[in-house]
Symmetry: C2
Subunit: 389 residues, 2 copies
């Protein structure tokens, strides 16, 4: 399985990173300056974001605006299964590399496009970034305290929901190709991919006729579950939620407040929701005296869903970082330790791919052109001289 | 393509909703009380969350704890392609319906498990919910203002990243089955699926040796891009970001501050990041006088990425809601208008499935058992009498 990866920043590169983890060969085609995240620096140093998302890929430097570069790309398309791109709208057409052109080169090719807005929508030609999609979809409106301004979600939800859905679209198209024999042009708009994740808020809006606050701090986004909040612990914060009456009764007894467990005034989710502030106060008064670890131990003993709220530093010094974790230390060719993301998809038929460092710009140009297209050293020299590669 | 859907709440049901949108027949197997979101109510009314995620599915009420119920389920497995579940750890084994049992009934079956934590991790046996996964992965730590407590992201990122990755795992396994002839047991842990979306924060942590604030309000999560923020407008908020020097120069000229565009003190991303507060102030002073719509018009004219920050009410009264939108009005059998989610995956080979309402509990029990297993009316009567269906 060969994937030609024209994509950039987070959305497409996450999608192709996962295809690589599933066993595909990822050929990252980059312009002469490298893709944008290569030149995103903090101080003097390239940000680790590029390393995290591009482990295990091959980098080919190729000038698609040069007729010979375009020709080489189409020759690669003849031998490839998938092309992934998330350029701003219209870019691929301007390069004369739209789906119709690719399909003439290879009827089985799957072109996967990550977009900001859906084709055919009013904003379809607008460029979009994670921040702007968070702004227009209600992610910001639904994040933060009700009395504070709209707040960005820390995770790049638009980029990564977009990229993950795009992966599913590609694997679906690969499956369909086994039946039809043909490829297709699949598309995922970040705007569309984010909306379902707002189900609690959307349902809260629909159920209340728009009367609920649009953001609810750390309470349930639809104000449909209580207790459900982040509560103070003696040494930080702890998340606790009662999905059903059983959880609530167990929590009451654990707090030494068995009388509340029996009280019909709190005997159903709507009854508890109606007294949310009062119940949150009762729980918070209990949690504030105890450490996170001890609270979690006691709550889990009685089956109440909970967990400590970890700091970023807790996460980065915990078990998620390591050879089998989601954040994997790898040595780059210079001996520097960098980090590559692991694979959330566990498939016995796709055994783990060893983590390797992100490639230097163009590190595999010669190798790929030689092996895929049989281009000889003298020709490579000429291509380099002509600013094609 | 037949999918047996044992899943509940958001994670699994979103995954199977997408499979249904791609053309699969989704048979939702529910316990006698219905799955948990059926009984989540606001006031007296079932929340719209169930409707949003279960449109187009068939509901079969089936008691898997009854030997005859388990037997019927295994007969359905013989004719199915995929089984999806996100029970708490160990539940399927306690029902004697682990992968080994399913695979004996049908070697081609794909069992897809949505988990909280990865198999083999210290927390693998813990139950997890969206809130608790947000707490332990750093989503909360990276969301909100630096001087405020950790904050939940409004979207249910754990559930929906989990569900989307699970979809990709299933479609990958379907593709692999065309080669191997065999199914497999695929798994996705919400914890793993969320981590990549924190790339900016993780990179910021790695690049700074942990010196950056773990949450940055509406600034870039890795403090690697500036300007990048939500700025006040005369009538709300607007998101603006400058991904490169060109965007910055265009913004300066638009603000009537051409001298800043030429100033080497702001001539690179690190230089601008070093003076982030000052630049944010300059931009905010300019935006505060102008409406969202007018700001967006002017910024887009000069190619600077931006968008209005929409309220939830803006979203719910905008073009995302409608017959072709992501939030689709549908009539249920009683004539009530409910809403079903649309499909972010656009594949020409999977033409749009008309939106239909979520099923009543057990609405298709008889139909499915009759059509799939040839069970006659008298036998259905007996099964009902014996509390099997």
């Amino acid at each position: 399985m060969v994937v030609l990866d024209l994509s950039q920043v987070y959305n497409g590169p996450y999608c192709t990173m996962l295809l690589g983890q599933l066993g595909a060969e990822i050929i990252k085609i980059e312009p002469f300056g490298g893709e944008p995240v290569r030149w995103r620096v903090v101080g003097e140093q390239q940000t680790a974001a590029f390393d995290l998302l591009n482990g295990g890929k091959k980098s080919v430097r190729l000038n698609l605006k040069h007729p010979r570069g375009r020709e080489l790309f189409l020759s690669l398309v003849e031998r490839a299964d998938v092309v992934v791109e998330n350029f701003s709208p219209g870019t691929l057409q301007r390069l004369s590399l739209g789906y119709d052109v690719l399909a003439r080169a290879n009827a089985g090719i799957i072109l996967a496009t990550g977009r900001g807005y859906g084709a055919g929508t009013p904003q379809s030609e607008q460029r979009a970034m994670d921040l702007t999609i968070q702004a227009v979809t209600g992610v910001m409106a639904t994040t933060g305290q009700p009395d504070q301004p709209p707040t960005k979600a820390g995770p790049a939800v638009a980029d990564f929901f977009g990229g993950t859905h795009l992966l599913a679209a590609i694997t679906t198209a690969l499956y369909q190709r086994t039946v039809t024999g043909n490829g297709q042009h699949v598309e995922v708009a970040m705007q569309d991919a984010v909306v379902p994740s707002l189900t609690s808020s959307i349902a809260g809006y629909l159920d209340s006729g728009g009367a609920l606050p649009e953001r609810t701090g750390n309470k349930h986004s639809g104000l449909a579950v209580c207790p459900y909040n982040v509560y103070p612990a003696a040494d930080g914060w702890v998340a606790i939620l009662c999905m059903n009456d059983g959880h609530w009764q167990s929590l009451c007894r654990l707090m030494g407040r068995g009388e509340l467990a029996e009280d019909p005034a709190f005997g159903s989710p709507p009854a508890r929701v109606a007294q949310m502030d009062k119940l949150d106060e009762i729980v918070a008064a209990w949690t504030a005296e105890v450490t996170r670890q001890e609270l979690v131990r006691r709550l889990q003993d009685v089956g109440v869903p909970c967990s400590p709220v970890l700091s970023l530093s807790d996460v980065m010094t915990g078990p998620l970082v390591g050879a089998d974790g989601m954040i994997r230390p790898v040595l780059d060719p210079t001996g520097r330790t960098t980090y590559a993301l692991g694979n959330p998809l566990r498939l016995p038929a796709s055994p783990p791919v060893p983590a390797t460092a992100a490639p230097a710009l163009g590190a595999h140009t010669d190798e790929v052109l030689r092996e895929q297209l049989g281009i000889a050293a003298a020709e490579l020299e000429r291509l380099r001289h002509d600013n094609v590669v």
